[in-house]
Amino acid sequence: MTRGIAARLRPPAVVALVVLVMGVPLWLVVVTAAKSQGEALSPDLSLPSRWLLWENLARVWEQGDVPRAFLGSVLVVAPSVLLVLTFGSMASWVLARRATRLNAVLYACAISGIVLPPAVVTIVLLLRQLGLAGSAVGMIGVYVGIYLSTVVFFVTGFVRTVPLSIEEAARMDGAGPVRVFFSVILPMLRPVLATATILICLYVWNDVFYAFFVVGGRLDTLPLNLFQVANAGLYLNNWHLIFAYIILMSLPLLVVFAVAQRRIISGITGGAVK
């Protein structure tokens, strides 16, 4: 009998939990972003007396340099993800297929970055010496260096599940290693590459810590500009602008998520728990 009650109580409990734990903070963002500065001085959950959402969005669009920051973010995220997936898969393929002692050592080195934190301060020094300080190229190199470990870890495990016979068939037809890798192996890695893409996009798109050190003040990205808007805004108590920026900045990922949620969810879980 108790089971019946528990089962019937569950849906209302779910609704209450969602409203309290998620609804309240998200509601706060939306209503505050729609208020005038006076009303938003001390953000609360009340409705704005007049909805100024568009006006506030338009203001931060200019003040926070959103188009440039968006471009900066894309300029860094897209090449980083592309390079880390390509180079990571190439290395993983050979590491998985040639089980030599050297490769075991190389593999251990390659995945050590999953746990070991990058040396953020000396990266700056190194980039200066390389003439890459503050540049998008330097930033991309840093992100690729940080997330290669993740890709190598996921992809090497996956390659081992791809039967060798598929490669051998292509090789019989006279395909060299480059052909075999790009036209046979790479397409088969799609599920695991999807997982890696999602996770790395998430981290790089939202990263502000590494960006501070490498490109802070020289290149605009969305999180860096949020930090600027917020620092200026907190000083002036411009919560309405901070929250308007948060909405603008979160929208791209939320839209991607809304469109592809099923694939994203199965992507994340498929790679993590096999």
Binding site: R3, A13, P43, F87, R98, I114, L126, G157, V208, F209
Partner: protein, 295 residues
């Protein structure tokens, strides 16, 4: 599956495929790490053009004023709290939302929204929510019928716990997904068999299904621990390390001293973080590799 013999491997799986990845790893990951071990022992700063070796001075300074011990303690406590909360919440949500009803599906999507949001943004939202005159105190006041003005982010003891809760709030959706995937891998007949043997729902859950979630627990605990030891954004956006540096985790310290031009001190702390994670990570790596061999 037998790997190709070494001679044939050279032709079919040439080692130069490793070159781009390892070149980047070397330049952008290993070399800076190596530099950490060098520049932590110098007086590198923005105030002098020369960089000279100073031996263990940086460590001695950080040790003598208690900064090193303080930052280490705060970071470890923060990491453990985050791992605990994130897994408790994620696990609770997974169990609550396990059945595939439309309501549960929708709720899962809502809990994933913070995972997608920037951690910095999440931090600002909670800074507004937790102000002494903020909405949480308003809500509490409404329930209790008095005015509540708890300074959630202004307490030198408890604010660290509050910030860890915020960190867990942001990432609990991801843990939930992984626990859900773990629960799905447990065949229905296992639970069924236990029930036929007379186990109650509660017993069947804790003695049969929970142990089978081990891989998901490993993954979630490891990622939460490592993620929070490398944390920065949420603490920066909620407290900036305060009050009185009671939430100053290592990365906040590194960022602050770097901003002040004290590059050698920042490097020293970066090295400390590296060593701490390396020491704690070896068991974690072993577990990850073992898991991978099983797969």
């Amino acid at each position: 599956m037998r790997p190709a013999p070494a001679g044939a491997g050279r032709r079919t799986h040439p080692m130069w495929f490793l070159a781009p990845a390892f070149a980047i790893l070397f330049v952008f990951f290993f070399l800076p790490t190596l530099f950490n071990f060098v520049y932590a022992f110098t007086d590198w700063s923005s105030f002098k053009s020369e960089i000279r070796p100073v031996g263990w001075d940086n460590f001695a300074d950080l040790l003598s004023d208690g900064t090193l011990y303080g930052a280490l303690r705060v970071t470890l406590v923060y990491a453990v709290l985050v791992a605990l909360f994130q897994n408790l919440f994620g696990f609770g949500l997974a169990v609550l939302l396990e059945r595939d009803t439309w309501l549960n599906r929708a709720a899962r999507l809502v809990f994933l929204v913070p995972v997608l949001m920037s951690a910095l943004a999440v931090g600002y939202v909670f800074q507004a929510l937790l102000k002494p005159d903020g909405s949480l105190n308003d809500l509490l006041g409404g329930v209790l019928g008095t005015s509540v003005t708890i300074p959630w982010l202004g307490d030198t003891t408890w604010t660290l716990v509050v910030v860890a809760l915020i960190h867990a709030w942001k990432w609990m959706g991801l843990s939930m997904l992984i626990y859900l995937a773990g629960l799905k891998t447990i065949p229905e007949d296992v639970t069924e068999a236990a029930r036929i043997d007379g186990a109650t729902g509660w017993q069947a859950f804790w003695s049969i299904r929970f142990p089978l979630l081990a891989p998901a627990v490993t993954f979630n605990v490891a990622t939460a621990l490592l993620g929070s030891m490398n944390g920065f954004d949420i603490v920066q956006a909620t407290t900036g390390g305060g009050p009185a540096r009671s939430t100053e985790i290592l990365n906040i310290f590194i960022y602050r001293t770097f901003g002040q031009g004290l590059f050698a001190q920042a490097t020293t702390m970066s090295l400390v973080l590296f060593l701490m994670v390396a020491l704690l990570a070896f068991p974690v790596i072993r577990v990850l590799r073992k898991r991978e061999e099983v797969v």
